[in-house]
Amino acid sequence: MTLHQLDLSEVTKPVADARGLPNEFYTSPEIFELEKQKVFFPGWAAIGFTSDVPTNGYAKPMTFLGQPLLLVRDHQGDVRVFQNVCRHRGMILVEEAGPIKKAIRCPYHSWCYELDGRLRTTPHVGGPGTNRHDLIKREELGLLEVRSHIWMGMVFVNLDGKADPFEVHNAEILERYKEFTADLFVCGPESHLTIEVNANWKLAIENGAEAYHLPWVHPGLNSYSRLEDHYSMECPGKFSGQGSTVYSPMLSDDGRQFPDFAGLSEKWDTGSEYPMYFPNAMIGFHRNQFWGFIVEPVSHDRSVEHVQIFYADPSVSGEDWREMRQTNAENWREIFAEDIFVVEGMQKGRSASMFDGGKFSPAMDGPTHCFHEFIARSIQS
């Protein structure tokens, strides 16, 4: 089925009348390719964390939506994203994550680049022993830099280079969370989780968007975070999600809590929010911890979820917090793991030829519908 044969008018109706996205949005490689062009490339997609490049001079190659990218922290500490290809013959430059001592050297003809992307030398380009040529203008042949932006420890890219600046494109979510300006700290290796799921990337976002499933899929939450303690958020075209009014920070055996972020208002004393940043990130805001949950679309039916937990104070990396850190990470891992069967189950369900996209609860599914509408309008644009 081609896009022209898909009727998306049902998707963009108000939630009470709408149907969900057609099956093909989950089962079709062609629609997946279209989403790259229409959803991901024109927007600001989340690709990773600043902690993926932990030290100055560190580089991490990654493939995102088929694009070979190179995440680099240069020698000044600035995080940049380049296309991971040499300007000479298009050779992949870096195959493994690790420190770059001085220059990025192409393994083919050894053109060398600075970590800020400048072309440093072009050996033998003018003949043996001559590293210059009048027609090889180094200032025009630096690494191809991808527009990137850092927010809350996450790295976002605009792959088509045409989007509004990140701050403009995402003004609404930046305004909502403007209190969160304090530094974030990665503490302990257990604070990073990677979860592979056999499901379309959108299903992870859709599942995170609504609180409706919590009593059934996460019964452990019922005792302290009941369904009625949650509320929905919808910002059409930008983000949707859920919040809770009863966040209660965990205590250690001796009654300690993780340190709070500075400068937060009273709302966050007992509040937590989980916006789905469109298109591909879920974010967990709490007064004393923050996490990013980036969904990497691998194919139409496979995704990888990358989670990084951040804390408010570097002291949390200490040995005296280790047990509590591990417990906290394990609690989140359990919750995220509990979601796998529904995400994968919905993927399998999308093979049901008579399924019509699904009927939303007007009361509970607003955030999911908001995301579907974003996808449908992006595809139609």
Binding site: K102, T121, G129
Partner: protein, 76 residues
């Protein structure tokens, strides 16, 4: 002075070992020998090899090698 044959063998061994620090030193030696014999093209070839591996490994000789190539009009 190391014979050209011995130097070549050492360079090949360093390539096999991916020992970039040694490659910098050996290619620089080869450049010196070529320059002493008056073969500037060969010297610059070896200097280039040494310079690239110096950049790759963060070797302290990189600025010196760059300067030598510049003096021969072979670098920017």
């Amino acid at each position: 002075m190391t014979s050209p044959e011995a130097l070549n063998a050492a360079i090949l061994m360093a390539h096999d070992d991916e020992d970039t620090a040694t490659l910098v030193n050996l290619y620089a030696q080869a450049a010196d020998q070529a320059e002493e014999s008056g073969d500037i093209d060969a010297a610059c070839f070896f200097l280039t090899q040494a310079y690239v591996f110096a950049l790759d490994s963060g070797h302290s000789m990189a600025p010196y090698l760059h300067q030598r190539l510049l003096s021969h009009g072979r670098e920017e």
